[in-house]
């Protein structure tokens, strides 16, 4: 039981400690963990559906060209965004904003190129052709949806006001948005590996 209740207001001293700025980062790590589990579920479904099937992707794997160009776009966008994060740390806010805008343009380029890939791929495979088409388009569309969410977050950070305010460090929002964007890029690495490269290797091996 406390014996020191009711101290007068003006006698309280301040605890000297910094403000906790990393709760948002912690939450983003957990969002990434659960989103990663979602993609693991999707990849497991891909393998489960492909198990013991007569017709499967290895007969006619999707083209590599588009996927690899898309991969290059996303990886370079991650590097660019990382460079932008360094600019915020050095308080070069205008440069950071320009770099962020470049990242968003690269993300839009990714989406545009992926729609071309869909138009091309649709001629031989549609989501309603068979279970392979269903899971192929579901995984890639889920990833595209995450790219769109990532772009919306980056766009929000781009227009975030008061970069110079002391209380609302711009670094926090920038950093958290960048974490999500890097995650989306890493997912695409696995999509390329599992949906595109491995079927080609299997065909090559045969």
């Amino acid at each position: 039981m406390s014996t020191t209740l009711n101290p007068p207001l003006n006698t309280t001293k301040k605890l000297v400690a910094p403000l906790d700025r990393n709760r948002g980062t912690l939450a983003m790590w957990m969002v990434i963990a659960t989103e990663a589990s979602l993609f693991i579920s999707l990849f497991c479904s891909y393998f489960l559906l492909g198990n013991n099937k007569s017709r499967w992707s290895i007969d006619d794997p999707p083209k590599l060209t588009y996927a690899l160009i898309l991969l290059a776009i996303l990886i370079s966008s991650s590097l660019v965004l990382h460079w932008g994060e360094k600019q915020v740390k050095r308080q070069r806010y205008v440069a950071a904003r320009i770099i962020l805008a470049v990242t968003i343009l690269m993300g839009l380029g990714f989406l545009a190129l992926q729609s071309f890939e869909y138009l091309d791929h649709w001629k031989k495979l549609a989501p309603y052709s068979d279970s392979y088409g269903s899971i192929f388009y579901t995984i890639t569309t889920f990833h595209a949806a995450h790219v769109i969410v990532g772009l919306l977050i980056l766009g929000y950070v781009l227009i975030l006001p008061r970069y110079n305010s002391k209380l609302e460090s711009p670094y926090r929002a920038y950093h958290i948005a960048a974490m999500y964007w890097h995650f989306v890029d890493v997912v695409w690495v696995f999509v390329v590996l599992i949906l595109y490269l491995i079927p080609h290797w299997i065909v090559y091996g045969h």
Binding site: M1, T4, L19, S37, S41, T138, L167
Partner: protein, 627 residues
């Protein structure tokens, strides 16, 4: 200002504004925890009434009170409501209310996320319960196996309501899990290292991690189902190369961890209540804590035991059978710890303790029938008979409903400030306990005699009639027992004895606040040196320099996750209407998806994004506004 005490100042900072606006924008964990409890309890009553209607239909052979379709909708809604919308949210309600108080924090780590998860939980329940009013409730059980749930066998919107309201609930549950993990790992009072943390924090933390990793499998499954039903894909159509078993694999990969989600926190509550009424610390604290975490971990490796009768390779079945045996050891460790605590202690037989003891008994019976069904040949024999409902109800009523009632009787004085009536409580207990055993024990016998589950009636010649009548009577007696507790609660809330700070002479920090606690909880953020803070001689609020008052705005301490060393001050957000707006926008999206109104769905998504921007948009601080 010189007359303002620190209490008044802190109240000014932390108090939720009065009136309807305050209600809609509140982010106070105490307010939200109570709402969770009330909403989930109402859903328990709805699910219970559904069960009673089913029991009337099954009371005798060849009854025709319900049509087969109505029966199917009722048993599905009963299961869905109880497992998804009652069992987990009511435990979240306890944890949201209690954990910040128990660990000496002034709120959850993300107060606005907390409000958002409550609103999405409420709106997902509303979305689910639109369906019976359209006469199109889901009718394929809480597990909704394909191919029965494909569009050609289940036309109408029933399964769409199921899949989409579950997706909305998944968002709510995931948000809640993130909030619990951050609160437990980051907000504990200085000195409350992991080895001194109350056991409820261990259980809630464990299931929060389980939710993060298991729930996406259900979400993926629900998306596949919707795509199959309305967009022509072939995930579950064998003719299109799909796999019917994939639904079951994904569903149970989520489903078995979920079983632990709905009972591990309840076991954590028992681990808090039993030591208090045995008047001694729990026996084997580290073993209970470790086995809680291991249950959550090994819970990911047993899901195939729900599918033994499907037919799989012997290797896989043996592995999962062994896993199912292994996991019972961790539960047994906790049960033995409770029994040893009771054995070594001096019992105080309050109503809460009655419920706790009943819970151990029922959990052991349900656990043993679980060990039977983990043995593959026995499982093949009893699968799809009433043995399985008997098992699941012994586990879930034993390890969820009874602990919840123990928790209500134990913590209600803290929440309302008044004691619950003990005499009425004990009446309620005995009526519930007898009704439960009369209602559910004969189901084992029915199952062994071969009565299949999920049937709407049975012919007279099979001789199931008398036992079924007994089961129905037991179910009604059980319902009356719950009703007595509700009446008891409503009367004691107005006219019960004043509880005071610590009516049970309990050991944990939530009892160091007034009942009901003020909005700021304690004037000084407490410090902790032992596992039973209020039983040792140390003064938790000893703070000669008043450095831990933190009255410069909504502030609480951040501490390191392992040793709970303070390293920073957390600035907490104030009330906001944004979480409610975001939840409503998401609700519009999911509603529109049920009826495939794509433009409205798109508008819902845009509104969700807009309200999230409004939620997070930085506002100038008072100093900056004046500058």
């Amino acid at each position: 200002m010189s007359t303002t005490t620190v209490e008044q100042h802190l109240t000014e900072i932390w108090e939720t504004p009065k009136g309807i606006w305050g209600k809609l924008s509140s982010v106070d964990h105490k307010e939200l925890g109570k709402r969770y409890l009330v909403t989930a309890f109402i859903l328990l009553i709805i699910g219970g009434v559904e069960a009673l209607i089913m029991r009337i239909q099954l009371a005798g052979p060849d009854k025709s009170i319900l049509t087969p379709e109505m029966y199917n909708q009722l048993f599905s809604m009963h299961g869905i409501t109880m497992i998804f919308w009652y069992a987990s949210p009511i435990l979240s309600g306890f944890s949201i209310y209690l954990i910040p108080l128990m660990i000496g924090a002034r709120d959850m780590a993300y107060p606005r996320l907390n409000a958002f998860t409550y609103w999405t939980f409420l709106l997902s329940a509303i979305l689910l319960y639109i369906s019976p009013f359209l006469g199109q409730a889901p009718h394929a059980g809480w597990f909704s196996y394909v191919p029965y749930t494909n569009i050609q066998y289940s036309p109408g919107h029933g399964l769409d309501f199921y899949a989409l309201s579950l997706l909305l609930l998944a968002i709510s549950t995931t948000g809640g899990a993130i909030n619990f993990i951050a609160t437990i790992l980051r907000m504990r009072a200085p000195g409350m290292s992991l080895s001194k943390m109350p056991l409820l924090c261990y259980s809630t933390g464990t299931i929060s991690f389980a939710i993060l990793f298991a729930l996406p499998a259900l979400s993926a499954n629900c998306v596949f189902l919707e795509l199959d039903r309305h967009w022509g894909t072939h995930f579950f159509h064998v003719s299109g190369g799909g796999s019917v078993l994939m639904w079951q694999q994904l569903f149970w990969f989520f489903g078995h961890p979920w079983v632990y989600v709905i009972f591990i926190p309840a076991m954590g509550m028992l681990s808090m209540i039993i030591p208090v009424f045995s008047r001694r610390p729990i026996v084997g604290y580290p073993y209970v804590a470790i086995s809680t975490v291991l249950t959550g971990l090994v819970g990911f490796g047993v899901w195939l035991h729900h599918m033994f009768s499907v037919g799989m390779s012997d290797m896989a079945m043996s592995f999962f059978s062994a896993g199912s045996m292994l996991i019972s050891i961790f539960t047994v460790v906790q049960v033995f710890a409770w029994v040893a605590t009771i054995w070594k202690g001096r019992l105080v037989m309050t109503t809460a303790m009655y419920y706790a003891l009943a819970s151990i008994a029922c959990l052991v019976i349900g656990g043993l029938s679980g060990v039977y069904t983990g043995i593959i040949p026995v499982d093949w024999q009893v699968h799809n008979t009433y043995f399985i409902p008997a098992h699941i109800h012994y586990v879930l009523i034993g390890a969820n409903v009874f602990p919840v009632f123990a928790g209500l009787y134990y913590w209600m004085p803290k929440m309302t400030g008044r004691m619950m009536g003990e005499t009425a409580g004990k009446w309620s207990f005995w009526v519930m306990f007898i009704g439960f055993n009369v209602g559910f024990f004969p189901m084992h016998i029915l199952g062994l005699n071969g009565m299949p589950r999920r049937i709407y009636t049975y012919p007279a010649g099979l001789g199931f009639g008398p036992v079924n009548m007994l089961v129905t009577c037991g179910a009604f007696v059980f319902g009356i027992g719950i009703l007595i507790s509700i009446v008891n609660f409503l009367t004691s809330m107005r006219s019960g004895r004043i509880a005071g700070r610590n009516p049970w002479n309990a050991d944990t920090l939530e009892w160091d606040t007034d009942s009901p606690p003020p909005p700021y909880a304690t004037v000084h953020i407490p410090t902790v040196v032992s596992r039973n803070p209020l039983w040792d001689d140390y003064d938790e609020e000893y703070d000669p320099d008043d450095t831990r008052i933190l009255d410069e705005g909504r502030q609480t301490l951040s501490t390191t996750w392992l040793d709970a060393e303070p390293f920073a001050i957390s600035q907490m957000p104030a009330e906001s209407i944004a979480p409610l707006l975001a939840a409503i926008a998401l609700f519009v999206f999911f509603c529109a998806m049920v009826f495939e109104l794509l433009w409205i769905a798109l508008a819902g998504l845009i509104a969700t994004f807009a309200s999230c921007c409004f939620w997070l948009w930085p506002r100038p601080s008072p100093e900056e506004r004046s500058a």
